[in-house]
Symmetry: C2
C-alpha cells in the first residue's frame, strides 16, 4: 500500500507521458521532466518514469545516472511495450517497467480506470510499488515479464495501430472519391461490437471470407491506380482466404 | 409511400438474406426462396430481392426469367455492393439494387435502424419503391449509382473486413503465446471510439507512426517464425510510415 503521497517524476512530454501525468496528478506529486536536460529532477523522487521513444531510451537512461542521488534510491521504470527491463540495469537503483497498453493521443481524453497496466520489477518489492502506483488509476493491473509484454505489444500493434490505419486508408479512398467517411461509422461500430462479443475469427465477413472471386477482381481493377491500396488489398485478401481454407 | 403490405420474396438464405428477412418480416409479407430451385416463388410478388454471392448472381437472374409472371411485373433487385445494376437488365421487368452496407452474421442480432441502405433503380419510380422499402427498417437510406456503390463497398472492405481480420490475427498470435485476446478489448474499444470521434488519420499511434525503428526491428525479429504476420507487419508499417512523411 502507498500510505503517503509519493513524488513521481515523468521524463517525457509525448502522448504517453502527458496522459500518465494526468492520470496520476491527483494521486501523487507529479513533476514532468524534459528528457533532454533532466533539469527538473530534484533528487527527492520516489519513482522516476521514463516515457520516451524506444530509440531514445538507452541515452536518457545513461544521462539519468548522474542525476540520481544515491541516498534517495528512487525506483526508475520505463513505459515501453517492447524494450526489455534490463535497459535500466546500469543505473544501480531498483528498476522496472510501467507499461500502459492503450492508444494515447494528447488531445483525446480517456477513462484511466480502463487502461490495462503491465508491470515488471527488478525484484518483488519494486513490482509491488509499481503495481500500487498503477492501481491508483487503473482497474486492470497485471504483472508481465519483458517477453510477455513484447508479445502483448505486437498483438496491440495489429489490433489497434494497424486497424486504425485501415480506417485511415478507407477514409482517404472515400475522400478521393467525393464520399464521406461518416458513412462507415455504423459499419465500424457494428464490426467492433461483433468482434468483442464473439471471437473476431468467427464473425469475419466480406468477399475474401466467402471466396467471392468476381467481387475481388472488380475491386482490384478499381484500385489499379492506387498501388498502396491495391497491394494491401491483395495481401489481406490472401491472408483471409488462407485463414479459412479448412 | 407504401400504403399496403407488399409481398416481398428474398432469394437466398445467406447472412444478408437472413437478416433482410428478419428486418422486413414485421413490415411486409416475406417469402424466403431457395436460389437453386426458386420453387417458393408464387407469381404474386411485388418485389423480389436476390441475395446470393456475386458469382451466383448472373445465373440466378437468368433462371428467374422463366419464373416471373409478366402480368405481375415485380421489381427485381439484388443486394450486392459490387455487381452493377445491369446484371438484371435482361429480365424485362423494372430492376434495381437494395444494398445494405453492414457486416451480417446469421447468429448476431443487430439494430436494423442503423444499417445504411444504398438504393438504385432502373427508373425513378423503382428507386422510390425500393427506398420506401428500405425506409421501413433503416433510418439511413441513400441513393447510390453502381459506381458510387462499388466505391463504398471497397471502403467498407478496408474499414470492416480487413480491420476484423487484423483482430483475428492478433487473437491468433496471443493464443499461440498463451495470452488472451480479452486483454485487447479496452484497447480496441478506445481505438474505435477515437477513430469515430476524430479522423482516424489524426489519432494514429504506434511504432510506425513515431518512426520507432528499434521497436519495429524487435517486433519483426519476434515474428520471424510467422511469415503471415511478418509480411503483413512490414506492409502496414511501410504504409503508415509513408502516410506520415510530410
Amino acid at each position: 500500500m502507498i500510505t503517503d503521497k509519493k513524488n513521481v517524476a515523468i521524463i517525457g512530454r509525448g502522448n504517453v507521458g502527458t496522459h500518465l501525468s494526468r492520470s496520476l496528478s491527483s494521486k501523487v506529486y507529479v513533476t514532468v521532466v524534459n528528457p533532454h536536460t533532466l533539469a527538473e529532477l530534484t533528487g527527492t523522487e520516489d519513482i522516476i518514469l521514463i516515457s520516451v521513444s524506444d530509440a531514445a531510451l538507452p541515452e536518457v537512461a545513461g544521462n539519468l545516472a548522474s542525476h540520481i542521488h544515491a541516498k534517495c534510491n528512487p525506483i526508475v521504470a520505463h513505459t515501453s511495450g517492447t524494450t526489455p527491463m534490463d535497459v535500466l540495469s546500469g543505473l544501480d537503483v531498483p528498476y522496472g517497467v510501467f507499461y500502459p497498453m492503450q492508444t494515447f493521443s494528447k488531445d483525446v481524453d480517456l477513462n484511466y480506470a480502463d487502461i490495462p497496466m503491465f508491470i515488471e520489477g527488478s525484484d518483488a518489492e519494486v513490482s509491488d510499488v509499481l503495481m500500487d502506483l498503477a492501481g491508483l488509476f487503473s482497474d486492470h493491473v497485471h504483472y508481465a515479464d519483458s517477453e510477455k509484454r513484447r508479445k502483448l505489444h505486437i498483438g496491440s500493434v495489429f489490433a489497434c495501430n494497424f486497424a486504425n490505419h485501415l480506417w485511415t486508408l478507407s477514409e482517404k479512398w472515400l475522400k478521393e472519391n467525393g464520399l464521406d467517411f461518416s458513412m462507415m461509422h455504423a459499419l465500424i461500430r457494428e464490426t467492433t461490437r461483433k468482434a468483442l462479443s464473439n471471437s473476431p475469427a468467427s464473425v469475419q465477413t466480406g468477399p475474401a471470407r466467402r471466396h467471392d472471386a468476381p467481387t475481388i477482381k472488380s475491386h482490384l481493377k478499381m484500385l489499379e491506380g492506387n498501388p498502396q491500396l491495391h497491394d494491401i488489398y491483395i495481401m489481406l485478401t490472401d491472408s483471409i482466404e488462407n485463414s479459412y481454407h479448412e
